[in-house]
Symmetry: D2
Subunit: 164 residues, 4 copies
């Protein structure tokens, strides 16, 4: 199965600017993470944007939808900031990309920090995308959630299943 | 879904003994890795043994089979050295534990090293075990393989799908 | 020789708050760094404050001077943000603590990041303090500078020797 | 002050061979460590050999002495396995390189492991070499020892000062 990784930034890819002392985005770490994970998948990695998910807006979400629609791959993993990941999942679901399995994932701590959950989440999302039926999902905390049954608990930082 | 992690050692859990300069086993790093991955799964972690997989033998495999059979959980992830992982998968398959999904995983580089694939593989195995149908699998390199269609290429360190 | 480490915060000790996505201060990492470095020195570690060095002001500098004056140890290492480290060194020199060797050090990247210079700088500062004559120094980039012959180059992040 | 770093291997530079599962030597990590430490010293780095210090013998020590004698630099830092570091220091002292300050250092845990003391020790050794008078020293555990007043305690892994 061919998989496309669409990079959008988020905590995943934040770095520390040692001159300003601020966090910023440069290049994605996804390629390095795939090397570390010794991933042997048929993968294409594409950087769509590099933003904090608080800056995510309708126009940018439309760009992500367009990239998912145009992608030749049936499996798509999107890296995304956690704060608005569920909102983007909803927009992707509304786009009705019938035959695609789309899994959004992210990180609570930047990969560039030693203590990041990014590598765990990337391994998790790449696995779920290979076996879940078409649809839009969020993969965090080792779990997968259908797009319409998940929320991020802002107080704990944990993604929770919504009861129907 | 409840999941049991059965720890058997392997490269995953090797540490560096700073007095002797040799690699050795102490405690498993699985709990620490789950914390890092912020895993929010219904998990039980059990150390069955702590050995290099070159020491794996019939008796030890029987112990692993017994632990899988006795486990209340339907999903089981086993950490295992990569050299003989496929052999243990075969023994588990022969045990015909009908309703269980068993996923073996490991690492090419110890978790205690900065450059380990362990966290990626653990995230991957824990994801596959939740969605794959009952059976015995190997999860490495971001992929999953049925127990009878995989081999480790000793020259490249990569797990490969066997054509039927 | 007894040495006192006075912790004041700075980039050294910044951490990533995974709920807010901002950098903040919690506890110092100095004790953990000393363990990692297997330091076997006669050391006392004291947290004087936990601030970004941009918040350093006269009152806080007076507190640091007071702690240096009151300390029983002849050797003092102060951790400090790099932006105003030279200013604090000047205030310490003006205090004329005749018989003490005081070495300020810091980091360009937080210790909690994998890529920090903190451990290198701490090893360096603790070494210089044992062998330099009484006076006030800055130890960065593997070098030591008398307090009145150093400036931080804001564009490169490098500490430079001023020609007299 | 110009400094030459003579690399001889030792735990410092051990790596994990993911195919054989054994520790081995490839290239030195010293250049990477200097980058991490943002060292701004006038440095030459030279790999003299890449061996476990248990393999150190008279011939190899003669090669190290020759490199120290021939070096244009007055300050020399040698990386060395800890088990026989003191023996090499004795041979260097016997060579009577009058005007040189030679500091041997090493690590208890390989730099390639996350938990290494290597960066701390390198920062320490590079600092001591700039300020100590000519002679041969060992720098470990944040301390410096004259070559004839130090032993490695094999049970604790700690370098200790010998009373005269």
């Amino acid at each position: 199965m061919k998989i496309r990784i669409l990079v959008t930034g988020g905590t995943f890819d934040k770095e520390y600017d040692e001159l300003s002392g601020a966090l910023f985005f440069k290049d994605t770490h996804v390629q390095e993470m795939l090397r570390l994970g010794r991933a042997r998948l048929d993968l294409a990695v594409e950087t769509v944007m590099m933003i904090d998910s608080l800056e995510m807006d309708d126009e940018r979400r439309a760009a992500i939808v367009a990239r998912c629609r145009d992608a030749a791959e049936r499996g798509i993993v999107g890296t995304h900031g956690t704060d608005t990941m569920v909102d983007t999942a909803r927009v992707l679901a509304a786009a009705e990309l019938q035959d695609k399995t789309i899994v959004l994932t992210g990180a609570m701590v930047p990969y560039a920090f030693g203590s990041s959950d990014g590598l765990f989440n990337l391994g998790s999302a790449l696995s779920f995308v290979q076996v879940l039926p078409p649809g839009v999902y969020v993969a965090m905390n080792g779990r997968h959630f259908p797009w319409d049954r998940v929320r991020k608990n802002r107080e704990t930082g944990v993604f929770e299943l919504l009861e129907r």
